[in-house]
Amino acid sequence: MRIQESSNTVRALLKRELAGYFTSPVAYVFIVIFLMLIGFFTFYISRLFEAGQADLRGFFEWHPWVFLFLIPAAAMRLWADERRLGTMELVLTLPVTTAEAILAKFFAAWIFLGICLALTFPTVATVSYLGDPDMGAVVCGYVGSFLMAGAFLSIGSMTSSMTRSQVISFILSVVICLFFILAGYPPVTEAVSGWAPSWLVGFISRLGFLSHFASIKRGVLDLRDIVYFLSVMIFMLSANGVILENRRTA
């Protein structure tokens, strides 16, 4: 009964949120920039066609770096805007729990990112036309990339609830995302390993996105990596909830 009610509420909120994406030109601009950046890195930097290998590592390789800037940009308005316009007060005084409101926003944005990812499919089609990539690995790469996008997004959603300024939300979110990326980035881990105890180095690098994305982009979907990305999302969205409960100021 309560679960039914709750899912109806989330669905209503999610529908409005998602429809909001496609009535604003910003969403289309976002999609175009996303596709152009991915395409630029894949074909111009990685030279996917010339590399002579028929897999998509040169394609997935760049996703964390493109996400680093684009997902905070997509997430920055989630709560900051509602806080600024006062609609947050409207929504949170409806019979809606904070968790429902957060999940609805998060899933709507995640679906939108999923659509962006799906639109890169022509790349995959080209490669499979030219070569014969392992389709299992490709699917795995997409699933991993989608999970990682969710983790980035949960960070952006959290920072967006901290402020009414989209710019501040964006910057905070990029900094935190950058930390998560660099934590597993080999040059950084090497630098740290010079002086830090090895357990700490191991811990930090396991905290990072890259080490978890590394096997995924090779086509290995490990349950531990999935659990990792889901935990990041759960943690960030819970923080998001705590922030909203405590900072409901107008």
Partner: protein
């Protein structure tokens, strides 16, 4: 019934709402008054569950907003300050969204939306996006949002703020039409509004409740309540004014020129003391040619000012 008990909200160091208690029954329209920054919006935000109180409780129809917020919020219609709306949505779309979140589906949902649109005179703009509407229409869209589920409790934060006189009149009309079987709290700093719609008034100043009365009851506290205003044509008989001023029940008097002669106003020593008979007999004994006499009812703005500026030093340092 809305039962507010010892509600308090502290922001860092300042106490925005300080130990406020009151109750509102069905059929009442409670005017919630106070100068800007007195704590009206903060109180309403706590009653609607948006802000957690520092201490105290608000119970709506038997449900505590802190313990059982979801059930309590189902019974409330809330119009936040400045009437926030999703500007990119159409009026229909927005109200449909609110209805859906409130659990309406299918034909019930369509009916709830069309009823609200009709009650708030929005038919002509139903398909327009809210961002393109004038302030008055936006306010009514947000108002439609709060009555859509026909809630027993309405909480309206400055529902007529920023509207022109005609729009104000319409919104007040809507509130009155709707209030018979509801308990309504509406905040305002417009005194006419209180007179026009409210059955009861509470005044808060600097977070504290300073009055809880009917509009008439409040007016009776005015120092001009029971004052006699008399228009005398031609000349005022010599010494009459002074003589009136010496009456035991009269505290002071004023004489002013008037196109038709002179106007004499006498104030009672205490609000409401019946001084008119003595003044009238005195004046007719002295042969004054009385054109008209009336007894003043007192003015809300005077009472309001007297109550809320008693600690003026405090309020000047208030703004944050």
């Amino acid at each position: 019934m809305i039962q507010v008990s010892q509600l308090t909200k502290r922001f860092d160091i300042r106490t925005a709402v300080d130990n406020v208690s009151f109750a509102v029954e069905k059929g009442e329209i409670l005017g919630f008054m106070g100068p800007n920054g007195a704590g009206k919006s903060t109180t309403m935000r706590m009653i609607t569950g948006y802000l957690p109180p520092s201490s105290g409780t608000a119970v709506i129809g038997g449900r505590d907003i802190a313990q059982d917020g979801l059930s309590a919020r189902k019974m409330i219609g809330y119009l936040p300050e400045n009437a926030p709306v999703y500007r990119e949505m159409t009026v229909q779309g927005f109200l449909g969204f609110i209805a859906e979140v409130r659990g309406f589906a299918g034909s019930r949902r369509r009916k709830a939306v069309s009823d609200a649109i009709e009650k708030c005179f929005l038919t002509e703009v139903g398909n327009q996006s809210i961002g393109t509407l004038s302030k008055g229409f936006k306010q009514r869209v947000c108002f439609a949002q709060c009555i859509l589920h026909d809630p027993p409790y309405l909480i309206l934060d400055e529902p007529t703020d920023g509207l022109d006189p005609n729009q104000k009149h319409e919104v007040r009309q809507m509130i009155r039409n709707m209030s018979a079987e509801k308990a309504v709290i509406l905040s305002t700093h417009i005194l006419d509004e209180v007179d026009a719609v409210c059955t009861r008034v509470i005044i808060i100043d600097d977070g504290k409740l300073v009055a809880d009365d009917t509009p008439d009851g409040l007016r009776k506290r005015s120092k001009t309540h029971g004052a006699v205003s008399m228009l005398v044509s031609e000349a005022l008989p010599e010494g009459l004014a002074e003589e009136i001023g010496r009456l035991a029940d009269v505290s002071e008097y004023q004489v002013s020129d008037d196109p038709a002669g002179f106007r004499l106003r006498a104030f009672p020593r205490q609000p409401g003391l019946p001084i008119a008979p003595q003044i009238l007999s005195l004046a007719s004994n002295r042969g004054a040619r009385i054109q008209s006499v009336f007894v003043e009812q007192g003015r809300l703005d005077e009472v309001f000012r007297a109550i809320t500026t008693s600690d003026a030093g405090d309020s000047s340092t208030r703004s944050v």
